[in-house]
Structure formats: C-alpha cells, structure tokens
Symmetry: C2
Subunit: 236 residues, 2 copies
DNA sequence: CGGACACTTCGGCGACGGCCGAAGGGTCCG
DNA sequence: CGGACCCTTCGGCCGTCGCCGAAGTGTCCG
C-alpha cells in the first residue's frame, strides 16, 4: 500500500467544487467580475435558494469565492484573478469546438453583442479583445509567436498612453487568455486588466445592459485608431 | 427558469473526472509521461484492479487519457500536452503553499533527487529546470518580466544548438509552468519539450530510477556551462 | 411595530458513484 | 494443453451529494 499523495487529495477537492453543474453555472456567471447576490444566482441557475446557499457555502469555504454581507444580501464574487484564470482555462479546455458555429437567429442576435465585445473577468474579450491584441502585435508591442509577452516598445506604449502597470504583484504582466467565441488568445494579466480599466474610464467603451457586453464609443474608435491603428470596421 | 449554459455542463463533467482522489492520484502519476499499466496504477493508488479499471474507462472516455492495448496489458498515458498542462495548472493552484518547507529527514532525502531535477510531463523541472530557465533569461534568450516568450536571440540559440523547434502546431512555443518544489515558473511548451528531449538524447541528463527524476551528467554540466553559463553548483 | 424580503438551517428523499470480491475472457508461456 | 497472469464485467453495499420545502433568523421599510 502506498501512502496517498496529499496533492491528490487537494486536487480532487478543488475539482469537486467545479464538478457540479449548478456550481459551474455560478462560476461562469461570476466571470463577469460583478458581485452577485445569492438570489440572483439561484434564479440564474434555476434552483431553490436553499440549494444555492449550500453551494455558496462550499465555494467560499474552498476559497473560490469571497463574500460580502450587506444587510440582508449576501454578495459573492470570484476570489481573485487566479481563480478567474482557472475557470477560464477549464472552460477553454472544454469548449474548444462548439464556437464559431452559427446558431438559430434568436440566439445569434442575442449573442452578437457579447461576441462583438465583452469583458472576461477584468480584461477585454470577444472581437474587441482580439482586435486590440492583434493591433498590439502588428505594431510590435506584443509578441505572440514565441510565447506571449510585451516588448520594450509595448511597455513604452502603455507608459505613453498613461496606462499604469502595477508590476509589484506576482500576477504576470501579460498572459494569454483563450477566447471562447473567437478561439484565439487575447491579452490578459496586469496589462490586459489595466487596458480594460482605462478603456472604460476614458470612455472608449461603455457597458451595455447588465451583462458583461461592452460597446465601443465613437471616441473609442478614434482613440484606438490613433493609438493602435485599429480599423473601426474590425470592431463591428 | 433559465436554460442551462451548455458550457456549465461540459465544465462540470470535465471537473468531475478529476474530482476523485483515486483518479487524481493516477493523473499526477501520469505526469511522468510514461505509459502505466492498469495494474501499476491500481497498486500505486491502493485500490482493487476492478475499481481502477472503471476509473480508467471514465478517464479515457472523457478524453484525458489514451490507451494502447498490448497483449494482456492495458497501457494508458495522458492524452496530450494540453491535458498535462491542465493537470499541472490545477495542481499548482492547489499546492502553492506547502512547498519549500523542510520536512523530516527521510522525506527530504527521498525527495531530494526529485527536487534537484526531474521531468514535468515533457520538459525539465525542479532546480534543474529553474536553473536552465534562469540562465536563458539572464542571457537575454527568454523574457519573463513582461510575459513569457523567447526572444529573437533565443530562437537563434536553439537554432545554433541544433535543437529544432516545430512551430507548426497550435501548441505555444514557450509557456510558463509553475514548479511545485521551487514555486517559480520554468520553461514549458514546444521549446521546453525540445530542450528536454535534446538534453536526454545528447546525454546531458540521464533518468535515474524508474521515477521521473533526472541527473545531470559531467558532459551535461560542461554543455550547460558552455552554452548557457550555468554554474555547475546551481545544478546540485 | 408588523410585514415583506433575503438568506440559512434542517429533515428527508432519491440518485449517483466508488468500492469490493467473484466470475469470466483474453493472452502469454512452459 | 494447462496454468498463471492481466484485465473487465457484474452484483451489491454504502456513503456522499444535490435537491426540495418548511421553518427559523436577521434586515429593511412603511
């Protein structure tokens, strides 16, 4: 008899948190980086409030979610970018084939705003995210061929654009996140988050609806054309 | 009632494959990239052969493992580098704190060969993997500060060393893999695999025991010192 | 203060999954 | 050909987990 690898125990325990469809539904929903109330998630997942309460208890205890109680509401959100990355990675592993397939009219029109531009936890995704990532690459600010990293010119570009990059933490400056509508990597990590935050703060994009869909404004088209050479058509 | 996100179903199904301690034990063992027989895994995990047979059935059906039948043996291995990366990522997520802590004498001496150098699926890991990755970085062949990518000089270095890089597949050329003894990223991806293969073929390293531990040879010390400026002391 | 609301706890139910040993089939070897 | 070996299938057991509704706690608001 071999002694059990403690890593196996921990690995199984972590996976078990995701291995339930209701909890997986919650984790995917929480990728929008908003804080959801328990009731919202229960309605979203289609289960009773009591059921969802237990799920949240597990997810919080397992460190995947953090909670804030405000009055009679319990708000939860993904614990950190690391957890978001984990969920994204798992989702990308699992979804690699079903994308880019045209569905029926209602779904495709409902999904088109999301496909055009959205946030993926804290960075830009969808065609918008791809367009920005490609533009950075075309201009020599980002390399994708030999890995995934900002170049020196890329660092200078962020500096010149007034987008600060916090390089102290352990989080990687640039990281590839696989887009599940476009099936291609887009910029995540510190730089992806900073760019997304700047785009929203500077009015380049605005959120539409209560979803994580975002729309590029006229000012945003100008800014991205000027700073990155992104053709406005690539954003539509 | 909301219609269930099909991604949630697939996500939960994938996670469920890892969410069992016996299966997790198998997946971690298979990270050595060897093909194990069902019986070996059963003994390793400490369960009956019949039990393990069912686990293998699930893992194969789920696409995490591939099998080859030879005579009365059933050999299984991880399906591809993508699955290996998934397991590594999950394991890294779960183990980030317990490393670098000195344990009792028997464990630390038994583990020291593994900590010194080993393979992690198809690339070098342990202190050896870190030393090589750091040396590449110090010489400007690899950037880690702004992401993780080979530089042009790095591509030339591989070329000059006669280590071919297959750039056709979708697999990234360079990718960071978090080391669970060193808690630092080391080189994985196509370049990491090519380097590891070359090191073994050229006799820079030899496998020791039946484990995934590797030892640097005298010739390997010379080669790494000449080509990368790795001080031999860093490998011990 | 009372009622509406959000969430949690509890009991109970049903399903699923992991485990084993026994039995069976395929393969190798003497 | 016979026996050893490796694996798989099957039946049965048991524990865990997801689910619900009912009841309880705490909060907000009129």
């Amino acid at each position: 008899m071999t002694t059990r690898d403690p890593r196996a125990t921990a690995l199984a325990r972590l996976a078990a948190l995701v291995a339930d469809e209701t909890r997986a539904t919650c984790l995917l929903a929480l990728l929008d980086r908003r804080a959801w109330t328990a009731g919202e998630l229960a309605r979203h997942a289609g289960v009773a409030a009591s059921t969802l309460s237990e799920h949240l208890g597990r997810l919080v205890a397992g460190g995947l979610l953090t909670e804030e109680r405000q009055g009679r509401h319990r708000y939860v959100r993904l614990a950190d970018a690391r957890v978001a990355q984990l969920v994204e990675d798992l989702a990308a592993q699992v979804a690699p084939d079903r994308a880019a397939r045209p569905r029926n009219l209602r779904e495709s029109s409902a999904g088109s705003a999301l496909a055009r531009g959205r946030t993926c936890y804290d960075h830009l995704a969808g065609r918008l995210g791809i367009a920005v990532t490609d533009a950075l690459t075309d201009r020599g600010l980002l390399v994708q061929e030999t890995g995934f990293a900002l170049t020196d010119a890329g660092l200078a570009w962020f500096e010149a654009a007034g987008i600060g990059l916090d390089r102290r933490g352990r989080r990687p400056l640039a990281r590839a996140c696989l887009d599940w509508t476009e099936r291609r990597p887009h910029l995540a990590g510190v730089a992806g988050a900073a760019l997304c935050r700047h785009a929203l703060e500077a009015g380049w994009c605005v959120r539409i609806g209560s979803e994580r869909a975002v729309k590029v404004t006229a000012a945003g088209e100008r800014a991205m054309s000027d700073l990155l050479g992104v053709a406005p058509a690539a954003l539509r």
